[in-house]
């Protein structure tokens, strides 16, 4: 299917690059204004697993929202999956999220009245895929995160760890170019948290590109690459074990 009008908005990225942000600032027009991002540049390649750490208020969530097209930068550009955010309309950003970006949140954000299966199937809702096909893929995704036996449980009946697995399955079910997770283990005890980190590593090993925001430096230490934010600026961007990028 071709959509010529949108083709023009495509911005070239080097092969293998999923995300590229350049000199991004984000200023919240409060009184006084908050410079949540003060000029951030970074690239994420296909297959990477990146941790973003930093103290509370350092701009981590703001960065994730800007990377995920949920918010526009005040200045600078975000190019994701070959599209420049500045060149896209709100509707086009929505379609980008529907097809190319997956999200995982600290609060899970499951629909309580729905079963685990339908929560995951909703990950494909706005792609226009029919319910039967969505459920088929959702069942596979749920099996992948170890919840094959919980598919018909309503969301309220799941434990915290199970909820986050459902949310991860929902983020991955559309095979997005990138998955953005904001403190996915923030509401979980350390044991459950470990198993979620393990799952994320497995999914990355299978090819998924994932950016994880975390408070937990121990969690970050597991991942191949860690970006540290402070006061809206990148303090360090390092590959663990090997040298600086």
């Amino acid at each position: 299917m071709t959509a010529p009008a949108l083709d023009r908005e495509a911005a070239p990225l080097p092969p293998g690059r999923v995300l590229s942000i350049r000199d991004v600032t984000k200023v919240y027009p409060t009184e006084p204004p908050v410079h949540a991002l003060a000029g951030v540049s970074l690239d994420v390649d296909e297959g990477e697993l990146v941790a973003v750490v930093g103290p509370s208020g350092s701009g981590k969530s703001t960065l994730l929202h800007v990377m995920g097209t949920l918010d526009r930068p005040t200045s600078g550009d975000v190019v994701i999956a070959g599209h420049s955010v500045n060149a896209l309309t709100d509707r086009q950003l929505s379609s980008l999220r529907a097809r190319r970006i997956g999200f995982v949140f600290q609060q899970f954000h499951l629909l309580n009245g729905y079963t685990a299966l339908d929560n995951v199937a909703d990950g494909l809702l706005y792609s226009g895929m029919r319910l039967y096909d969505r459920r088929e893929r959702a069942a596979l995704a749920l099996a992948r995160v170890g919840l094959a036996n919980r598919m018909m449980h309503t969301a309220t009946k799941l434990s915290g760890g199970e909820k986050q697995r459902v949310a991860i399955a929902r983020a991955l079910v559309g095979r997005p170019a990138i998955v953005l997770a904001d403190e996915p283990t923030g509401n979980l005890d350390s044991h459950t948290s470990d198993s979620i980190v393990e799952l994320i590593e497995e999914l990355n090993a299978e090819g998924a590109t994932i950016v994880v925001i975390t408070h937990d430096h121990e969690v970050a230490g597991h991942f191949p690459r860690t970006i540290s934010l402070r006061d809206g600026l990148i303090e360090s961007d390092a590959l663990n074990g090997s040298g600086r990028r």
């Binding site: 083709d7 070239p12 792609s127």
Partner: protein, 400 residues
């Protein structure tokens, strides 16, 4: 990764229905309560229109059966009017008007009627005694509930036929053994009881005796006080015009001519006024119901900010979010509308069947009720839907 094309976000219509009904399915009590206002309003309007239609149909059937070609000629009671009696020859003259098909006279008899001969004559029981022609029943299109009407043979004997109210007051329902009543100074045998007259209710409170027996036993001089006239239906107005001069050539102004079916129609017109009033009340209930839905939807949008944020993150456009909440308001109103139509039809059916009416609900009532519900749902849902869609994704997600 090479530049890829972007296919727009899409929400299949069947999925729009599913997402629009999430709120209803997960908050059933609230949904039911907020649909209740619309339901009551629509039910009121459907029932009022249904009942008005059913009763109108009943009236038309009644008029059809009784005919609108019955006229009454009476001696007027105004200034300069005579004794309340018509000229002796009036009945004969009226019968000679060409389009007149039948005439039947009655005259008031100065007598009282009692169940026994013990009751003091001061107590009349409100029952009048009328001397009538034997063709009265036929001319009026009346019916008997028991026994027979007067005929040429019985009219000469002390026999009486009771109007429905008179029979009830005298406690007579069964005439198989011809019960006796004390009428004037004489026992009269009751041979028949009449059904209610729709066109001349005054006969319901009367005891009817034959002209011959009135003259023989009650010392009555049968000069008619009223004449019932059946005319050819095509010439009713013409006959009405000539009746006064025909009945009383000397003093036509003393004659009152009326058409009893007009009174029935007037009664119906009065009930139309009530219909309008109740329709107005139904409309107010609908309005209140609409405000209720808008209110519930605004609260729902506030409560479901996180869900809105999630849907935006999953790729919903503003329009998808607006459509979901608008759809939810429409569904709520539609549930109320369908419930209201069913309730309204039910009320109509129950009431109409107790009245022995045909059950009629005009298409305008139920289709209009559903249409009103849809319009109200759309209007009530518009503002909440706009609010939901204007919420920025990050703002919506920030709520925990």
């Amino acid at each position: 990764m090479a530049a890829s094309t972007l296919t727009p976000s899409r929400l299949h219509p069947s999925d729009l229905g599913r997402t629009a009904s999430v709120g209803l399915r997960t908050r059933k009590t609230r949904a039911a309560l907020s649909a209740l206002g619309i339901m009551i309003g629509i039910a009121a309007m459907v029932a009022v229109l249904g009942l008005s239609e059913s009763s109108k149909w009943d009236l038309l059937a009644k008029l059809d059966r009784l005919g609108t070609n019955l006229l009454t000629v009476q001696a007027g009671q105004g200034i300069g009017a005579g004794s309340g009696q018509l000229p002796e020859e009036a009945a004969g003259m009226v019968a000679r008007i060409a389009p007149v098909e039948a005439t039947s006279s009655i005259s008031a008899v100065d007598a009282n009627v009692y169940k026994t001969d013990f009751i003091p004559s001061g107590q009349t029981g409100g029952i009048s005694v009328q001397a009538v022609d034997v063709n009265l029943l036929e001319t009026l299109g009346g019916e008997l509930t028991a026994g027979t009407f007067l005929n040429e043979a019985t009219a000469a004997y002390p026999t009486v036929v009771l109007g429905s109210v008179a029979a009830a007051r005298l406690g007579i329902a069964d005439v198989a053994h011809q019960p006796l009543v004390w009428l004037g100074d004489q026992w009269f045998a009751v041979v028949g009881v009449l059904e209610e007259f729709d066109l001349s209710p005054n006969l319901d409170r009367a005891a009817l005796v034959g002209v011959a027996s009135a003259e023989t036993f009650l010392d009555h001089e049968a000069i008619p006080s009223s004449i019932y006239v059946r005319t050819n239906p095509q010439f009713v107005d013409d006959v009405m015009d000539v009746l006064p001069a025909t009945a009383n050539p000397q003093n036509p102004e003393e004659i009152e001519v009326s058409r009893p079916s007009d009174a029935l129609e007037a009664r119906e017109a009065a009930s139309d006024a009530f219909t309008t009033l109740f329709l107005g009340l139904g409309a107010v209930a609908l309005l209140v119901g609409g405000v209720g839905i808008a209110n519930v939807m605004v609260i729902s949008v506030l409560e479901r900010r996180a869900e809105i944020g999630l849907r935006r993150a999953l790729g919903a456009t503003r329009r998808h979010v607006a459509a979901q909440f608008l759809g939810e308001a429409l569904l709520l109103a539609l549930v109320g509308g369908v419930g209201g139509v069913l309730l309204g039809v039910g009320v109509t059916a129950i009431y109409a069947s107790t009245q022995g009416w045909a059950i009629l609900v005009p298409t305008l009532a139920w289709a209009g009720g559903l249409a009103a519900a849809i319009v109200i749902g759309a209007v009530a849902g518009l503002y909440p839907a706009m609010r939901a869609s204007r919420l920025s994704p990050t703002e919506a997600l920030r709520t925990t």
